[in-house]
């Protein structure tokens, strides 16, 4: 994590007499990992993870995310869902972020946070509704819904300043809550991301920025996004702490995010975590990744898949078995079936719905238009 190894002199002091060239600030970036690619610990595990059974819920959520994701892709391929962005390969990062958060923290994410959303209590049928072209998917109306979470942010990094506002409200009201803002590697190139990081630093707000670096922004590789060797160091310009974590190591992500959240919650100011992972799928169902990356690269990344990695660890520790796996797969398939059924059988939105939530109360000036669209019955021609 970047930090001043020695007290960095404030700029005005640098005007004092001194040598012709002196070092005025130093920074470091660290990376954390606990499991290697085969799920073997590379160091002593952090406290809560020492009992492997405590990790089973994480694993279950990762598997559910993957199963849901596969089904969503299938629905799209068979014409029953719109464009869908798979999070295949990123389940560890997504689920661990969601799991480490407190219920009343607020998540502000991109379109690829399915894992975190599910863990937070967004319903599968709602996620399907959204990608199926129905605004009701972002209503988060389920019983365990994170009602204050932000809806998916499609315009890249535009939700980063929202996180600053959310966290400002928390701080002002003295609530021990954290705004968790997730962006992709591509998102780090956008001014909004930087402006938010910088402002969160100024006010020392409880915001955790997580950069899910899956190495690609559609066809643009990480190296064309920035010359910076790490994305964690984007924090340095904002004067805040940034660090890397192996994003395919669920234990490392869970631990690092938990620690950062604790620090944010205790008034330690904002933090930035770069989670290193890889998008094993196409960018979305509308993309063909073979156009811009080699099968070899994907093959290599596949060997780092976070799901078998955690499973190997759990099995070795005796906390998981093949029978457990089969039972869970069947159970989750049923849950996904039910969600798909609920999605497919939902009545379509009424035309008038497009005016329903434009304002708290529709201004008289727009009544005629609402009536016109409501009057149009039957199928659109």
């Amino acid at each position: 994590m970047p930090r001043s190894v020695e007290l960095a002199p404030r700029s005005r002091r640098a005007l004092k007499a001194g040598a012709s060239r002196e070092c005025v600030a130093r920074f470091e970036v660290h990376c954390t990992r606990f499991l290697d690619a085969d799920g073997r610990p590379v160091a002593e595990l952090p406290e809560p993870a020492r009992d492997a059974r405590s990790l089973v819920p994480l694993y279950r959520a990762m598997l559910l995310t993957r199963q849901f994701d596969q089904r969503a892709v299938t629905l799209q391929r068979t014409g029953r869902l719109g464009t869908y962005p798979s999070s295949y390969g990123q389940e560890a990062a997504e689920v661990a972020i969601g799991a480490a958060m407190a219920r009343d923290d607020v998540l502000l994410g991109t379109y690829r946070e399915t894992g975190a959303m599910l863990v937070r209590g967004v319903e599968m049928h709602e996620i399907l509704a959204y990608w199926g072209g129905d605004e009701r998917g972002m209503a988060y109306a389920g019983p365990n819904a994170p009602r204050q979470d932000f809806p998916i942010s499609v315009p890249i990094a535009t939700h980063a300043p929202h996180a600053v506002g959310v966290a400002y409200a928390f701080k002002l009201r003295k609530e021990p809550r954290v705004a968790v803002c997730v962006v992709g590697d591509g998102g780090t190139s956008k001014g909004d991301f930087y402006e938010a990081l910088n402002a969160a630093g100024v006010w020392q707000l409880p915001v955790l920025f997580v950069v899910v670096n899956n190495q690609w922004a559609i066809s643009v590789p990480r190296d064309l996004q920035s010359r910076a060797p790490t994305l964690a160091q984007k924090a340095i310009g904002a004067g805040i702490d940034g660090e890397q974590v192996d994003g395919n190591d669920a234990i490392a992500v869970y631990h690092t995010v938990s620690q950062a959240l604790l620090s944010c919650r205790r008034g330690g100011g904002p933090r930035l975590i770069e989670a290193l992972t890889y998008r094993l799928s196409d960018h979305t169902t509308a993309d063909d990744a073979r156009r811009y990356r080699s099968e070899l690269e994907v093959e290599r990344a596949r060997s780092l898949d976070p799901v078998p990695r955690l499973r190997a660890y759990l099995e070795r520790e005796g906390a998981w078995s093949d029978a457990d796996e089969q039972a869970l797969l069947a159970e989750q398939a049923r849950l996904v079936d039910e969600a798909v059924e609920k999605y497919l059988s939902a009545p379509p939105p009424k035309p008038g719905a497009m005016f329903e939530h434009l304002f708290a109360t529709l201004p008289p000036a727009l009544e005629a238009q609402r009536e016109a669209v409501e009057a149009e019955e039957g199928e659109p021609s």
Binding site: E135, P151, V166, Y168, L172, L358
Partner: protein, 326 residues
């Protein structure tokens, strides 16, 4: 009750709401210690503290974006953009988020923010400080756009804007900030949004306008009155959504309409008013609908800005043309 300027009325409304509602915050560049470059926020920091009167880093996208976050959390942010020419980096947040947060979440979240910004030419300001680009806001579904034209209306409309449960852009004509004083009672009474103000009755021609141009328009109406010509003057005030009812009723009576605004003519908000007249009001029109506006060019620097701003003689000429046409 005291005689105050428009900028003082803005200050009064802000102070009133900060005192009345703990959810209200003021944020922007130089709004704190400095009290705003036009002094619109003077004294607020001292009274309400730096947690609620916030000097931000220099980033308009941030100001708008964090206001969205604050509003979604139930706060009532009142953000200042220092000049309308610096509003453009905030448009993305206004269009993609503020205006549709309620719609996108089917009412689960909402966005009761106010974004204030000084607008218009006429004060010999530097480049990029004289914009009247309200069209860019008025066209966006889900945004309210309000322009006061007097101290009392600034006070009452700003209160209404802050209390409104949806996002409002509040445009303050710099030319009016200190142009004249008016008695304003600090009684917390809001004025209605979404409604025109008929400032003057008249039977011969309807003059529709808003913001700073209200003043030249009223001056013309006064001088026409001396000749016995009755000009009805309508201050649109909330330029989106548009209260066409009031305008249509007036034109039904007068049969003639001149629209006056400082913004460039092409696809100005005046175009919408004229278009509605060409549809719903066509049968009542006794003469062409005229627009007297800024030209379709970059607002010139100080030496030519008065040539750009619609001057009374241009307004008057348009009225006379209509009266002769009839």
């Amino acid at each position: 009750m005291s005689e105050i300027t428009l900028v003082e009325a803005v200050n009064l409304a802000l102070a009133h709401e900060l005192a009345a509602d703990p959810r209200v915050l003021v944020l922007g560049e130089d709004v704190g210690v400095n009290g705003g470059v036009f002094r619109a926020t003077a004294g607020l920091l001292e009274r309400f503290g730096k947690e609620r009167v916030i000097d931000t880093p220099l980033a308009e996208g941030l100001i708008a974006g964090m206001s969205v976050g604050l509003a979604a959390q139930g706060m009532r942010p009142v953000a200042e953009i220092q000049f309308m020419g610096f509003l453009y980096p905030a448009l993305d947040q206004l269009i993609n988020h503020a205006s549709r947060l309620r719609n996108r979440t089917r009412g689960r979240l909402s966005c009761p923010l106010v974004l204030r910004t000084p607008c218009g030419a006429g004060i010999h300001a530097p480049e990029h400080h004289s914009e009247s680009t309200e069209t860019l806001l008025a066209h966006i579904p889900g945004l309210r756009v309000v322009v006061p034209s007097s101290p009392a209306r600034a006070y009452g409309l700003l209160l209404a804007a802050i209390r409104d449960p949806d996002p409002v852009v509040f445009l303050e004509p710099t030319r009016l900030y200190r142009l004249g004083k008016e008695n304003v009672r600090d009684d917390g009474e809001a004025l209605p949004l979404d409604a025109c103000f008929v400032l003057r009755d008249g039977a011969d021609v309807t003059l529709v306008t808003w913001g700073a141009a209200v003043h030249e328009t009223l001056a013309v109406a006064d001088s026409l009155a001396e000749e016995g010509i009755g000009a009805e003057v309508i201050d649109v005030a909330t330029i989106a959504p548009l209260d066409m009812q009031t305008i249509l009723e007036s034109v039904e009576k007068t049969g003639r309409c001149v629209i006056v605004h400082e913004a460039a003519r092409n696809v100005g908000v005046g175009a919408e008013i004229a278009a509605r007249l060409a549809d719903e009001g066509l049968l009542t029109l006794q003469a062409p609908v005229k627009r007297v506006t800024g030209y379709d060019t970059v607002v010139p620097l100080a030496k030519l800005e008065q040539r750009y701003i619609p001057q009374p003689h241009r307004i008057e000429a348009a009225v006379r043309e209509l009266l002769e046409a009839a």
